[in-house]
């Protein structure tokens, strides 16, 4: 029946998008049933970003210098906070076994999960950032560039983070191991993301930074689903 569609060769586009849609819809539905968890991550982001003006200085120059870096670092930490949840619940209740054993293409299924992760964590962070950026004396153009950089960068965080989350499945102390594994990989995203606003302030275009983020996103979109699928199969063995 579906033997032809699931061989290693090439599943057809319809079965890939059906599998992607299945995982996306399911994870979004579960996320909406546990709204408290989503709220905790966003509150974490808001609080971390708001602590820096309280702890440092009210001067506009200091805050303007800190702003992009703080907003990006907090986005990284918020992403990291939500990563263990991405696969561990499915792993411990047996759903991941069933997903890996289903005839649907596993890279497409895990892509749906990663998309749901971004929609519930990365996207709200990118949307909130311009609002929170008001605390850091940033003007409209800077806030626009910040949001654009976050929109390009947070999907990379979800994709790279998912590789780490899948690799640390079943490991003792998985959460802290995950941070050690993933945070260094996040560094380039942080550098180019925060650098976009800095470039604007130095009177240059933010184009190169945004282009590099977009290139990184494309690379991660192509590679991460297969890396995650392989890591999931290893974790189940």
């Amino acid at each position: 029946m579906s033997e032809a569609t699931t061989t290693a060769a090439a599943p057809d586009a319809a079965s890939v998008s059906a599998a992607f849609g299945w995982a996306l819809a399911r994870d979004l539905r579960i996320a909406l049933r546990s709204k408290a968890e989503l709220g905790v991550q966003l509150m974490f982001y808001v609080i971390v970003v708001s602590l820096f003006p309280l702890a440092t200085s009210p001067s506009r120059e200091v805050l303007a210098t800190l702003g992009p870096g703080v907003l990006w670092t907090a986005a990284l930490l918020a992403s990291l906070l939500s990563l263990p949840r991405l696969f561990s619940a499915d792993f411990s209740d047996g759903t991941l076994e069933q997903i890996a054993l289903s005839p649907r293409p596993l890279p497409a299924l895990v892509s749906g999960k990663m998309a749901a992760h971004w929609l519930t964590t990365g996207l709200p962070v990118a949307v909130l950032a311009p609002v929170l950026g008001g605390q850091y004396a940033m003007d409209g153009t800077e806030l626009g560039i910040l949001a654009a950089a976050l929109l390009l960068g947070t999907p990379i965080l979800s994709l790279l983070g998912a590789i780490g989350a899948a690799l640390t499945l079943g490991a003792r102390g998985g959460g802290s191991l995950l941070a050690l594994l993933v945070l260094p990989l996040y560094a380039p995203v942080l550098i180019f993301g925060a650098g976009a606003v800095d470039a604007l302030r130095a009177g240059m275009s933010a184009g190169p930074q945004l282009s590099l983020l977009a290139a990184g996103l494309l690379l991660a979109l192509v590679a991460a689903p297969f890396a995650v699928a392989t890591a999931v199969r290893i974790a189940l063995d």
């Binding site: 033997e3 539905r29 049933r33 047996g94 069933q98 890996a100 054993l101 289903s102 005839p103 063995d237």
Partner: protein
């Protein structure tokens, strides 16, 4: 394929954990309509054997054949043929019984047939509890959702880990009917169980893993 040729065959399988051998030299062949009851003391590798047959783990030695051809872990042919009911329930606490079953059937590449799901839930006597989140269900009721899933699954090869755990008398009757229907339809069942499986004796083959230990 002649009727008598085995649907599922294992040739001298071995499992190791670290340097310890759980079992070795496990061979069997199951024709359509056959049941393999795997028994043995705790820790002898029953679950490991079932995971190998489901395609979740690679055997340390030996090979597994499905319909006469060798299959490897996560083989597409295995993934089309197997319904794996492991010791983990794979239930999402946030979703209702209906939503859990709909998610499974669509995951298995079948169309979610809501009437069929309702019928399956009635059959396992969960019809009245089908619209509340699964976290509010008892252990036995959660097992019954697993039975409803089997009732909906058209897979030829059922792999069941301790299917009788937490089931009451009615639940066992439902399982008996499901197993009979599966075997009459030409399917096969591999089950690990400490209790006697409710199937006809002439269909039953036994595999005692204690005998395959450190041979």
């Amino acid at each position: 394929m002649p009727l008598s040729s085995p649907l599922l065959e294992a040739r001298s399988l071995a499992a190791r954990r670290g340097y310890a051998t759980l079992f070795q030299g496990v061979s069997f062949a199951l024709v359509a309509g056959g049941v393999l009851a795997v028994s043995g003391p705790n820790g002898c590798g029953k679950t490991t054997l079932l995971r190998m047959l489901a395609g979740l783990a690679a055997p340390a030695e030996g090979e597994i054949l499905l319909g006469g051809t060798r299959v490897h872990p996560f083989d597409p042919r295995l993934r089309d043929a197997v319904a794996f009911n492991g010791h983990l329930p794979a239930l999402k606490d946030e979703l209702t019984a209906i939503e859990n079953l709909a998610a499974w059937t669509t995951l298995e590449n079948e169309r979610a047939d809501l009437q069929g799901i309702d019928r399956a839930l009635d059959r396992v006597a969960l019809g009245k509890r089908s619209r509340i989140p699964a976290r509010a269900l008892s252990q036995g009721q959660r097992r019954r959702i697993g039975l409803a899933r089997l009732a909906l699954s058209p897979r030829r090869l059922w792999i069941l880990d301790e299917p009788l755990t937490a089931l009451d008398g009615d639940g066992v009757d439902v399982l008996e009917a499901l197993l009979a229907a599966q075997l009459d339809g030409g399917g096969i069942v591999v089950a690990a169980s400490h209790q006697a499986l409710p199937v006809a004796a002439e269909r039953l083959h036994r595999l005692d893993l204690a005998l395959a230990h450190h041979r």
